[in-house]
Symmetry: C3
Subunit: 410 residues, 3 copies
């Protein structure tokens, strides 16, 4: 028979084996199961496919380049600077036009600083002194501007003075500005050019209308009507971020400009548009705390005829703009589709598991169903095993512990 | 019996319950199911394990540091600058050698600008005027260089002139350069040092041959033969990015240098190598549009003997290089392995579900199989439930609606 | 009957169908299965839920802003610079206080460079010459400072000299500094202000105590006791990164400062705290290789009375600090919870599959169980199919190849 057996064995490989089900005419559980099935289906279709676009292969490794360019001038007339005009090269730091740029809106200038000795600013606790012994020579002033020379300088006949220091003299006066010097920066415009590329799908796009019409980009401003004219006034950006420009200009701050590219490449490329959002990145809530605002110091260095260095120290307050680009593109792909359908269906198993618990342990007739669900085979190791020795065994009881009862019953 | 029952109940916990299957000797569905099984298996092995390395735990939080250093000098001889030699400190902005650096390849110099009044450039529409009334005093020129003084300056007897402005004078002439001044930047070399660290696996590596042989890094260039000599000529980088250097040098642009570390830590560390790729980040396709190119303005500030500031304004065209590092490391881990195998097998359930649909609703004998698959229990609430009252019920009919027929049949 | 049939058919939709199981009283497999179940359960609860917080919806798209500010002065007294005091504006590059900043700790100054001709440094191989012919006029020195003029300059009567070049003269002397000039930078302090925002959960926080108490931030230093005082001394940062400050100050290097926000928003906001970690980003292991250290060149440009440019070239060695912020927030959400439970249960299917293999092919009685598990229907296309024609078929044999035997048996 071997020959036959092997052939049959091979054929039997192509018999389809399907689970045997027991019908429980219990409408409660039945309805429950249908509900579970429907909700899983709803989740699968609604959430996985419609919302999360589970049928798509996605690319989040965005290649992006941001080029920014500011335009605008401001005229100021102050005591220490006189009449002065500020243009881009003056107030944009750094000048490169990268994705992070700072616009100076307020400043404290300390001109003609030279390496010399002078009394430390009185606003620094560590520099206060009554006699020279309080100023240990050669020791740096904590959070100060220089190194103590050992002398205690008092103006007039006041008993308290400040240590003399070797430093860039004169030292900066800590005079918080009352109103922003470059308040008119509100009207400056910034042009944000952003090109993106999704390598996986070889898809490129930029946020500027690819026009050869010079005048368009010279005249337009960003708006719902002109989504592809990425030219903003600083005032608008700050306002959209929910802050007040003049207030920020005084103390300084950080604004985030998010550009979001969320592209469904199953649709036309023209459907893939940038979305701009603006937010204030430095702490809003602690507005009045010491840690609010944004400023830094830098110096311009000069050399006089004798070849001696001197500098102008500038404490710059202003607004830093961080342009952040992120995005993802999706395109139909068979593999994620199958996976999602499959695992969705697999979830049904979990649903059935749950309903079984109800059926087998919670409802009144559960013992009965348990008996039907779990069939207990009996018999000797014969190939052709038969039911004849007691039909009760075709069905059988889930809990062998109650076997005796079963026999009584049959 | 309680005692016995509980013991039995406990024992029964360790009875293994396996689903009962009905064999459908239908070769069509059988083959279909085997095909489904095989494809799931193929997917699991081929895609999940071989391609996606599903048996590995991965770390994508790469710690990376990039240090760049340029070398090279260029000699120029122009009317306004005379003979001039450009070295690294002149043409690299910013100088720090971070992962983003700009190489100046072309420039418009406007020397000796001072705060004064002068006519605005005629290229700015807003500044054109016919009479003084056209120049509202104190108003900034839109997209211009200064603030109007109220006078309209006409050269000679032309009827049209430009408003006089208070600005850094003289204003820049909008003379697009014909050929790149620093075209020889093509031969400059850049050394890109990149060290990475995968914290999860405590794995560190860098893209430079860890040699103490001074001369090697002085002489070598990057190539397939020297993958660990990260020294490139700018010309090659631009060429590999698919652009023409001289053309880019004229208008400016942005080049992305991706360094990809894709490490399989189950293999030897020497298998974990960097892969370089180069791409042009600013828009290629809109080459001729107004939005192409990359340039910015910056100034060098001087002070004359009288202590008056003046500056040299430089409009710099050039190429910005963004070095982007990303990578991921994988190492065998039991948990993802189990998960992937498990969910792969779970997918089989979905396959069976699909084949069941075919078996039960699409093929000719489907009613018959439905009858076999769905067994309908009948009987009173007795523990030992027996089949005897009508064998037909051991099998039974999937759709109770046809019960009557069934009785007729038996 | 149609009417009845349809009604019944509809009702039957709400019959619950549960798989039929065969009880295998095989303790080995039973125990095995329970073990599998328990381990899956353990994985689900322990790993997925407790460790990975699988019941949470997470947001990893962190909006972060970093503002850094250094404090401290250093006094130096060297031959070429004389007595000099260094403050923030002198040693921090760039000055903006962004998340990447460089502190100069050592430098080589080459003052008063002018465009002129001078002999190239002898340390450059390409510039060595014996006669003028060795110096091809107009050719740039490879890795050098200028363009050859065609003359070979020899000092005294030595037979070997270096080519004369047109360059910024005099050229820099390659004198590696012996000890860091600004070694006292170890005591400089840096204040790192970091505000974060999780857009999905509208949750904002910063790493600074929101206090209006001026003095606190003036006096405190970061420590376990003061986690919300982000003020560090450079010395500590370098030490925590496992390096020696003085050694780094000499050669330069890169330090990474990671700030990790790992927030469980099901807990109180006060539970969401930043965690700082410090690591050296440039290669530790190749300490002595030529590729170690970090330095760059920059120049300060001056103009003399005749309007001729000259500059001071500075080769700056120092430590670059990269502040990297990353984080993720999690909040309970029903969908991921269901998904994780579901797929966990689905895994049980895989476990059963595995145990079936054991039961059906590995154990002694496997043939018997195979027979019970796979029921083979037989019969004509009648609605009410009956078992009577050979009870053996209610059970039946898994492998039809053995059918004949089966008949013999019954």
């Amino acid at each position: 028979m071997g020959q036959v057996a092997w052939k049959a064995l091979f054929l039997s490989l192509f018999d389809y084996k399907t689970e045997k089900y027991v019908i429980a005419k219990n409408k409660k559980v039945g309805v429950l199961y249908r509900v579970v099935q429907l909700s899983i289906l709803a989740y699968l279709v609604g959430w996985v496919f419609v919302v999360k676009k589970g049928y798509q292969d996605t690319d989040t490794s965005l290649q992006s380049s941001v080029i920014t360019k500011l335009k605008g001038v401001a005229f100021t007339n102050t005591s220490e600077l006189g009449e002065r005009l500020w243009d881009v090269a003056d107030y944009v730091i750094p000048p490169q036009g990268e994705n992070v740029f700072f616009v100076m809106t307020n400043l404290i200038v300390t001109p003609n600083q030279r390496q010399a000795t002078c009394p430390e600013s009185i606003s620094i606790p560590n520099a206060l002194c009554y006699k020279d012994e309080d100023c240990l020579a050669g020791k740096a002033v904590v959070a100060g501007n220089g190194v103590k020379t050992g002398r205690c300088v008092k103006d007039g006949d006041s008993i308290r003075g400040t240590c003399e220091i070797l430093a860039w003299c004169p030292v900066e006066k800590r005079s918080k500005p009352k109103k922003p010097l470059l308040g008119s920066a509100e009207n400056f415009t910034v042009y944000i050019k952003n090109s993106i590329h999704f390598p996986k799908f070889k898809f490129s796009k930029m946020n500027v209308l690819a026009t050869s019409n010079e005048s368009y980009l010279k005249s337009c401003y960003y708006s719902k009507e002109h989504p592809y004219c990425p030219i903003f006034t600083l005032g608008n950006i700050v306002q959209w971020a929910g802050s007040d420009f003049q207030e920020m200009a005084l103390e300084g701050g950080v604004i985030g400009i998010q550009i979001e590219w969320n592209c469904d490449l199953d649709k036309a490329p023209s459907e893939c548009n940038p979305h701009y959002s603006f937010s204030r990145l430095d702490n809003k809530f602690a507005e009045k705390s010491v840690s609010s605002g944004y400023n830094f110091r830098f110096a311009k260095y000069y050399r006089d005829a004798e070849g001696v260095d001197y500098r102008t120290l500038i404490k710059a307050y202003g607004i830093r703009f961080d342009v952040m680009v992120n995005g993802k593109a999706g395109k139909f792909n068979i593999i994620p589709t199958i996976i999602n359908v499959g695992s969705g269906l697999a979830l049904m198993g979990a649903g059935a598991f749950f309903c079984d618990l109800v059926l087998l342990y919670l409802i009144k007739k559960s013992n009965f169903y348990r008996g039907k669900k779990y069939e207990e085979p009996r018999g000797t190791e014969t190939w052709g095993f038969s039911c004849t020795e007691g039909d009760s065994l075709c069905g059988g009881v889930g809990r062998p512990g109650w076997e005796p009862l079963a026999h009584v019953a049959s």
